[in-house]
């Protein structure tokens, strides 16, 4: 966020009072990030959009009660998004087998990117989709959304220790599943 930009807290307060412009700025600022989290966790663009929509609906309903400084807005938003994803994952059980794991449309790099890079992304997305839900969430929040461990832990409503344990297990699984394709991945990087 630039120095001249209005803070999330201020925008939420204004949006809660019915300021449409503030709501529009919040949407523009956070939709790509929320959608990216949901898409990577759910592996499905349509379901991710539903989850993002539910997340913002919860925001609009509680915007007028938002207390600045009580929690970091972005962490709160990720927590709501994470819960929306968990609800959808629970409804979806039993999980699809690994070979049927859906590919994530959003994960595709820009159209002019090389085929190799696209292939690398596909391999990583596939390995990610095969992880248990909570491990995948931890990886998505920490690596893709670049949250700190404390922020990701808050977003997932777990302790930092628990998050670190999830991350360690996720990284181990990813390394193991990607090891046979290491040469392709390095080439595509």
């Amino acid at each position: 966020m630039d120095a001249g930009e209005e803070s999330d807290d201020a925008l939420v307060a204004r949006a809660g009072r019915g300021d449409r412009l503030a709501a529009s700025r919040l949407i523009a600022r956070h939709t790509p990030k929320v959608l990216a989290v949901c898409a990577r966790v759910l592996g499905d663009r349509a379901a991710a959009e539903d989850a993002a929509q539910e997340t913002f609906l919860k925001l609009w309903r509680s915007a007028d009660r938002w207390k600045p400084g009580a929690a970091k807005f972005e962490t709160w938003l990720y927590r709501v998004a994470t819960n929306a994803c968990i609800d959808r994952l629970r409804q979806r059980k039993p999980e699809a087998p690994e070979e049927d794991a859906p590919e994530i449309a959003d994960a595709a790099p820009l159209a002019d990117a090389s085929m190799m890079e696209r292939e690398r992304t596909r391999l990583v997305e596939r390995a990610l989709a095969a992880l248990p839900d909570r491990q995948r969430m931890a990886i998505v929040l920490c690596h893709y959304q670049e949250l700190s461990n404390a922020e990701a832990a808050a977003a997932m409503s777990v302790s930092v220790d628990a998050l670190e344990s999830l991350l360690a297990r996720a990284r181990k699984s990813l390394k193991e599943s990607l090891a046979p394709r290491r040469a392709e991945l390095i080439e595509g990087a």
Partner: protein, 118 residues
């Protein structure tokens, strides 16, 4: 796993460079915002309806209809417990028995007969 493996993994998990197109979704989110604000302005019943998906509560005469429904329910409950379905007769018998039991002139033999079910 070596240090190189970890470096590779970090690189492979780097955030994607492409930005997904979210314009259509953003329009929907703004429409949701408008709807949420309209519901809030319209009153608490609308907010409740919105929160729980009870669309009937969001209609213009919902508060009056809700009140009427409560009155009707009360009337039905009152009618079913007021004796019109036989409960009154049983109440009268019980009252007569208790009155007799509390009457000091009620004799011991009558009491025994009553207990014996005669």
């Amino acid at each position: 796993m070596t240090h190189d493996d970890n470096t590779d993994l970090d690189e492979w998990l780097a955030p994607p460079r492409g930005v997904p197109d979210t314009a259509a979704l953003q329009r929907r989110l703004l429409e949701d915002y408008d709807a949420a604000m309209r519901a809030k302005r319209a009153g608490p019943l609308n907010a409740l309806a919105d929160a729980f998906g009870w669309r009937a509560l969001a209609r213009p005469f919902a508060p009056a209809a809700l009140g009427a429904a409560m009155v009707a329910l009360g009337a039905v409950f009152g009618a079913t417990t007021s004796g019109s379905f036989g409960a009154g007769a049983r109440d009268d018998e019980a009252y007569a028995y208790l009155s007799a039991a509390l009457d000091p002139s009620y004799g011991f033999s009558e009491e025994v007969s009553a207990w014996a079910g005669q």
